[in-house]
């Protein structure tokens, strides 16, 4: 049986932990709000981009050749997987969810006899995947120092990806990230980046004037310029979703931790009080029986 002092110490330490988890939860909540705002602010751009892209592919699709980033290399042998996770832990199952999803995908590809290359973004994903596939990781990037994910971070990634593509290092590129559904639900998602799937835009979004557009310079040149940009936008969006998801997961994980610490404090309090009462009773009995003996 633990002594009163031990119980007291234990309770104090759990209280200190609870304060920390509570603070982390509040920090995550504030960051989540900011991340959601950033994701929202980025939406108009990607929407417009999709519309423009749809218009222009329509114009180009009649006969002329599309850029390689869109058509791919025509092969399907070497896969590059860009796995985007967070740089920090303590976010529940957030990082391991993405990693598990990616791992299943990798195993499937390897079983089909494909060559797999991995590009990890974020420290945690790298840590997890390194255990099993350390020889497959060709590139890694950490965004630990970055306070607010900017477009330049996404550009850095897409530049590298395009460089590798132009050097013929892979045929298909897939991006893994976590889609932010709500604070308590983040869904790991795979999105194919190269060859770019033609954007699905419903007819109402594309302008009816599409056919009448004049292009300056030509449609091909614009498309050549637009596809890499679109790639960056996709990556940027994924990174933003990831940040929001990470903060959401962290918030609910820390909320759970705070609640568990509260339960634990209650339990410790009860056993502390019981033990103190037992000790008082014992002392009383000793005094009384001592007095009776006289």
């Amino acid at each position: 049986m633990a002594s009163l002092k031990e119980l007291r110490n234990r309770r104090d330490s759990v209280k200190a932990t609870q304060k920390i988890t509570k603070a982390m939860q509040m920090v995550a909540a504030a960051k989540l709000r900011r991340a959601q705002e950033a994701a929202e602010a980025a939406r108009p751009y990607s929407q417009r981009m999709a519309t423009v892209l749809a218009n222009i592919t329509q114009a180009v699709s009649d006969g002329s050749e599309a850029p390689a980033l869109m058509t791919g290399t025509g092969k399907d042998d070497v896969h590059l997987l860009v796995v985007a996770t967070a740089d920090r832990g303590l976010a529940g199952a957030f990082n391991s969810q993405i990693a598990r999803f990616a791992r299943e995908h990798i195993r499937k590809l390897l079983a089909q006899g494909k060559t797999v290359k991995i590009f990890t973004v974020g420290k945690k994903g790298n840590d997890i995947l390194r255990r099993e596939f350390s020889s497959l990781i060709v590139e890694r990037l950490e965004l630990r120092e970055v306070k607010q994910i900017g477009f330049s971070n996404a550009e850095q990634i897409s530049r590298r990806v395009i460089e590798m593509f132009n050097a013929g290092e892979f045929d298909v590129c897939t991006l893994f990230y976590s889609e932010f559904k709500s604070v308590i639900s983040q869904v790991p998602t795979a999105q194919q980046l190269i060859p770019a799937s033609a954007p699905v835009v419903d007819a109402s979004a594309t302008s009816e004037n599409g056919a009448l557009y004049e292009y300056e310079p030509g449609p091909e040149e614009i498309l050549n310029d637009l596809i890499p940009r679109n790639l960056t936008v996709q990556i940027f969006r994924a990174l933003l979703e990831n940040v929001a998801g990470e903060m959401g997961a962290k918030m609910s994980a820390m909320d759970n931790a705070t609640r568990n610490a509260g339960d634990m404090i209650n339990r410790l309090n009860i056993s502390y009080n019981r033990q103190r009462q037992a000790q008082i009773t014992k002392e009383l009995i000793e005094i009384i029986s001592g007095a009776e003996a006289l």
């Binding site: 423009v52 477009f151 009448l212 557009y213 004049e214 292009y215 300056e216 310079p217 614009i222 637009l226």
Partner: protein, 132 residues
Amino acid sequence: MAEPYKFELVSPERLLVSESVESIVIPATEGEMTVMANHSPVMTTIKPGIVTIKTASGKEDRYVVYGGFADILPDACTLLAESATHIDALNKADIMARVERARADVGSAPDDHARTRAEEFLHHLSALSDAV
């Protein structure tokens, strides 16, 4: 008095401008162009330069953009800029850093085509940095 129409300046990070304007001057790759209402539909790439906006209320505003696209329709114009800043918030050091980066790109271009493009970009950028 020219007819007003809707203009939007969007960067990947946020929507910078969304208002009713009278005319705007876009630094298109093939030369500057002034866009007013009922312009025929044009899609053009833009070079680094200054966008001048004249709002419907007659106010003039200027933004610096670094490459992107303009999607022009008779009743609307959307400018998708890679990155954009209001002229007042402009930072000289930022432009210099971009010029440096563009210069490095020219050096590391894999083929002639890419080099020409990088050189063009650098040229526009230096012209811009001289202008401000």
